[in-house]
Symmetry: D2
Subunit: 304 residues, 4 copies
């Protein structure tokens, strides 16, 4: 595949897409972003890199980071993890309480808010310095020792995030949160506040295209089997109630964030990240999804 030509085509195509969505405003700090930002970056397993637009500008990756906390908790807990969180699509919006109440405080999967809160609870229990150890894990994946949380975003979210407080209190009531609520929420908000560029993202997540190996260092991030399993979970649960749409149109496992970022993995081939802040009604980047659909259609690179 000649990705250089492909990126030239994407540049033309991206211009044509009417960008009808709206920037997320529920976290005040996110509402300040320039809605016309657009970047895309692709890194192949053999470390070829292709970028377009604002691919080198850092932005708030938000829920995309839930894949990283899942990877870390899965390494620490193993299959035991699934007694506290499921692996099924939720069929409901990303922060619904209904299912939690019907299902005794066990979130459907680790990529919705409730599930990610349980993952954070596990990390608080397991790690010596949860906040420090978690960012260190991301730094190693990226090869950039200066990566950090955005305290401003974390604080902004903390002040306004009543829905997440409702979710964690409900789970605590069901006995599925072991640590102090404030401590777990603090880790969660920091997790969501990580800022990476599209270029960074393709590096950080490349291990999922590479059977669990960090291609930069050759170190094992997770087992082959777990790497496939995380991809499977992303495929089924990575886009809230638009997971089917993404599988249907893009055909790759991936994960979105309300900051407007999306990553997608072609196992054995590449990792691609796109950024465009305007979200569609389901909370996923409008233009980001369209560009990825174009990319996989042109390259016929669906896993299906």
């Amino acid at each position: 595949m000649n990705y250089q030509n492909l990126f030239s085509e994407i540049a033309v195509e991206a211009q044509k897409i009417e960008d009808s969505g709206a920037v997320a405003t529920y976290i005040p700090e996110l509402g300040n972003i320039d809605p016309n930002k657009f970047g895309i970056h692709l890194t192949t397993l053999d470390q070829r890199r292709y970028g377009l637009g604002d691919f080198d500008e850092k932005f708030s990756i938000q829920s995309i980071s839930k894949v990283l906390s899942l990877t870390l908790a899965f390494e620490l807990e193993g299959e035991k993890l699934w007694s506290r969180v499921g692996i099924e699509p939720s069929g409901t919006p990303f922060n619904s309480l209904v299912q939690l109440e019907y299902e005794n405080g066990i979130p459907r999967n680790p990529l919705i808010n409730a599930g990610a809160l349980v993952i954070c609870d596990i990390l608080v229990s397991r790690l010596e310095n949860p906040r420090k150890d978690l960012i260190e894990f991301v730094r190693q994946l990226s090869g950039d020792g200066n990566l950090d949380y955005c305290r401003r975003i974390a604080e902004s979210e903390k002040k306004t995030s009543y829905k997440n407080a409702a979710l964690i209190n409900l789970m605590k009531d069901f006995g599925n949160i072991n640590n102090d609520i404030e401590v777990v929420l603090d880790l969660y908000f920091h997790l969501c506040s990580i800022e990476l560029s599209c270029k960074d993202l393709t590096q950080v997540f490349l291990y999922l295209a590479a059977n669990g190996i960090n291609p930069l260092t050759g170190e094992k991030v997770t087992s082959i089997s777990n790497s496939k399993r995380i991809n499977a979970i992303m495929q089924l649960c990575g886009f809230y109630d638009e997971a089917g749409e993404f599988a249907y149109k893009v055909g790759l496992p991936g994960k979105s964030g309300v900051g407007g970022g999306i990553i997608a993995i072609h196992p054995g081939k590449y990792c691609v990240a796109v950024w465009s802040p305007k979200l569609n009604q389901k909370g996923n980047s409008h233009k980001g999804m369209k560009v990825l659909e174009f990319l996989t259609t042109r390259t016929q690179s669906s896993i299906f």
Copy 2:
């Protein structure tokens, strides 16, 4: 991959699996099946064939046939199809009415009962002789001109299927069924009554591993794009509320039926079918899922 050796291993492994499920009894005729039947068959794109146990015995494929009616309706309607049925996982059991009521009679996807009823309604509208044309479509895929519905099963289901009658009446109330309810239900029960062996199944569904081409005849069943899309829908919706479990453990798109059959597709490589009548609590073949997990683990043949 040496599939011959693999099948020897599977023969040993299948013996070890404790078969704790129960045969489906809600259709009286299904309850008469020998619960200890077990067969598996794999056909590769280049037409190598491997079988074990009762792989050549016909059984009621039930919901597996929903992939065939979907393929046919998708060819006839194209993208318009998705105005009447979704492509998202349901997150609920296979025959739930709750979601239908909340979502104005639009089923979540074409592989749950409600969705398959809508597909049958479309076939009734589109085909000259729906029952005849549908079985003819399956005959062409299989290369066996004698394949047929099992009238006994179809009649048995018709007499007892109050839940499906509830589903179709609810959708009719919402205006999402155009034809006479009795006519649509008749086609639906016949669709579910098709009997195929594991060997037949791997032949019939091989087009989904072959970019939409029937390898037997070289004829195009559906487009490359639609073939991938049907695989994506199977991956997300093929196992009711155990879709995540199947993606996680087996890692291939597939579809199960309450007759105890499961098919799975490795795009570009093979189609495999397994049959074991005892079902787990989610309504999927207990042993069938375990054997497929063993197969894909041993061959590392997950799409993820």
Copy 3:
């Protein structure tokens, strides 16, 4: 209380009420009614009678008749009745399937559609000639031997009532319908098709203001205790998800129908019936509720 003066006041008041609702159209025959019809009639325990407007014109009482079928079935079954239908408010619209699915096919109460269908199933089991015996029961209450079902309305509803067919099939699936679905639906549609005037209604339902005695004949319709219990059920369940509103504003047990009729009972004092076909968003007569609120406010005749 000088009801004559009250009715003069009501005549003035009724003119003032802006009638913003809409006539029910889901049964085609109901849509043909003159939306400006308005009648009210009150009968006291000592057989004083007060009427206004179209109080002597018969109309389709629809769900109001569910109180009559309940009274009859309660006499036949006694407390055993409550194993098949509850006595709690539904908290949902009158024909919802959601609760039925969550609660194993046991309807919340006998005044929502699902509950009334169970009551009809009981009557089919218990009565020799269900249709004939039921109308005979109503004739005795009214003292009018010519009262009858409206076959045209019954047929009209039968042809279009997919939601009721969904409800009864779902309950049959749960084992809570013993007789043939068509037979039960036929009785149900006939039950709903009964036509009475406001004047008739106050006579028919007077037994509920009179501790279970038909004041016309002195015959016992039901026991004191059952009479109070039926009133209690009406109070909690007689207005779908507007039961609280009716209790709050009118303060009497009552029952509405989509034909625009409402009856209300002041135990020990009177029965009042009102008719105005335009319904509010909850499916209850808009003007009817306002007039009854005026009546009980002016007379301070709430039971609370």
Copy 4:
């Protein structure tokens, strides 16, 4: 009615009732209560008083106090109140989040936890010293200037009440809580912690049997109309998902608390309070409900 004789009969009857329930334990302090406590007290409008058993011992009235906060907030806000909380039965357990999520953070009624939290939010906005002013209001009703909150119970509930924290956070997210969450919860827990005896309760709530007048002082607590309306709300919403059962068997408006207390009102006649700590599966006093059923059956004093 000879209440003296009635109370002798109740003494005999109460012995016979098998007390199969369980003491509430979700608030640790409540679990310490002697499960065999039993008291009942009735006060008539003309200030005759009848007591039995532990009728003069104070206990935690818990949710019964929600009627008092409602009365106070209703006086302060008037009909405007109903834009923030409904008057319909919930049809679900007392602390469900499901309905709140579906209905945009507007609780179904002021007697479930969510609704009482909104009422507390209103009191925090309206009163100068919410905690002090609220207890003062109760003191005036009772004529006992020493009545107080139980700080131990309030603290105990505060530490363990994750479900209430979930509810209020969810409503804050929907914009239906105006004040600081901690402040509102503090008032709520104090409200629930009030300790009164059965004798106190019949005095405190007598205004609802007396058209809103405090018979002790002759002062107007609330208007006639509001008094009736509060009774109507109690009738429909006072017993969570057992409201229909209470209306059916007891036939009076009332309110229960998890401390095992129940009050019931016969408008124009009396107020009765009963206490027995063992709760049935719906969270209402098992023996309390049975004794009240006996009382109203013997005296035929249902409002229906």
